[in-house]
Symmetry: C2
Subunit: 243 residues, 2 copies
Amino acid sequence: MAPRRNTGSTGTGRRADALSRERIVEAAVELLDTAGESGLTFRVLTERLATGAGAIYWHVANKGELLAAATEAVVAAALTAAPARAPRTPREAVRAVALGLYGAIDAHPWLAPQLAVQMPRDPVKSVTPRIYEAVGRQVRALGVPESAWFTGTSALVHYILGAAGQNAANGRAARAHVGTDRGEFLDSVSTAWEALDPGEYPFVRAVAKQLRDHDDTEQFLAGVDLILAGITALHAPGAGASD
Amino acid sequence: MAPRRNTGSTGTGRRADALSRERIVEAAVELLDTAGESGLTFRVLTERLATGAGAIYWHVANKGELLAAATEAVVAAALTAAPARAPRTPREAVRAVALGLYGAIDAHPWLAPQLAVQMPRDPVKSVTPRIYEAVGRQVRALGVPESAWFTGTSALVHYILGAAGQNAANGRAARAHVGTDRGEFLDSVSTAWEALDPGEYPFVRAVAKQLRDHDDTEQFLAGVDLILAGITALHAPGAGASD
DNA sequence: CGGCTGACTGGAATGTCGTTCCAGTCGATT
DNA sequence: AATCGACTGGAACGACATTCCAGTCAGCCG
């Protein structure tokens, strides 16, 4: 009776070249990676998959669901990937998770805006709990009181998503804008910041230099450390002030 | 020669009921506030302003620019608004700025996604420096060494934007979802979190209770304090550990 | 083994959107 | 009064997400 939506397998006829939700999501991720957020259209998708629109809509309710599925697939992969080396301290563990998300967003720049829109829209859907769980578990391991868990975790999650998103977008902007590498792009932004009105933007002008010659990953991790320091400072750490 | 774009006032003919970039942006903000991000369409805009599409396009290059202008207008207003009481300590000053942005995003829920997309896209355009300046100036006032300014400020900015956005979206979701107040919505999310697989999501389940009965603003400020504590903890404060 | 069923497909059609185009209008200038 | 150009309104256009429907094909039932 249900007009649309694949139920999985009811046992009946399946062709060899069968279209599947998986194949669609996979193609969507590829398109998003290569052509950006606006590059994902049903027209291109049908061409890429050599099929019609109706076929895709049988597997996927609408574009939003497709985006959500793509997001979840990438996030799940990033969070499941084993950290390179087993972390020795809780602090290292947080850093590992943060770097995992950072890397995923860097590799798939469309992820950041997508997460920003999706996490609040449906806090029950798998992506949100997955991210909070991955980060929060390490926060808990820091040994701080339970009352600090939620605040600390959400601060970390927001920082990670925001900073990684900014970084990823900078990379994309660099490629599109000047056509050159990230260094030159940061250079131009830094110069523009320095040219701002000294009366109105003294602070921005002051940090323009730091913007110019910073290392992205290092800077990102410094932010994570900052928040970690705040968590352990505010809630006398049972352990783990050392690295 | 420039085919489009209003230059301000060249002194020539102006009708009494003149359309202006300001009136357009104002109407756009109203539409965004009442109908959400998808409610802003040129068709509705032309009706609301009793004009045609061409007229609007003479003042505004495209929808993106309109969105940017609306964003900037609201952010500028939020940042310019004098804090209720003159802050006594740097810490209070940071909180005041944070609350200003928090309030603006709460009042205009479309702001958060918009900022998330716009700040990285064009870090030179007025919105980004304006926010960094407002926050960063207070960070500088904390008395930490200059090397810590950029990291601390970006951590704060990301947290503020992320947390406020989540909060605003929760409010909107509450209104749309259950049709009831935020309390009931958080209740349902909390319940859903508690129903997750205990093996996979132990942390999320543990904080579900905190999610249920927290005060939004209080929780938000706790996060700000957390980051402030991190900043002053990592970089021996010249002052201001007290409130 | 031959028809039936329902999962699954492809393409045509629909409606909405952002954007462009152009024939005007109106105030100020001359 | 003629003219110029800033400014307007509405009719187009192309791209998009989505819906509809006439089919197709594999397995099951007889």
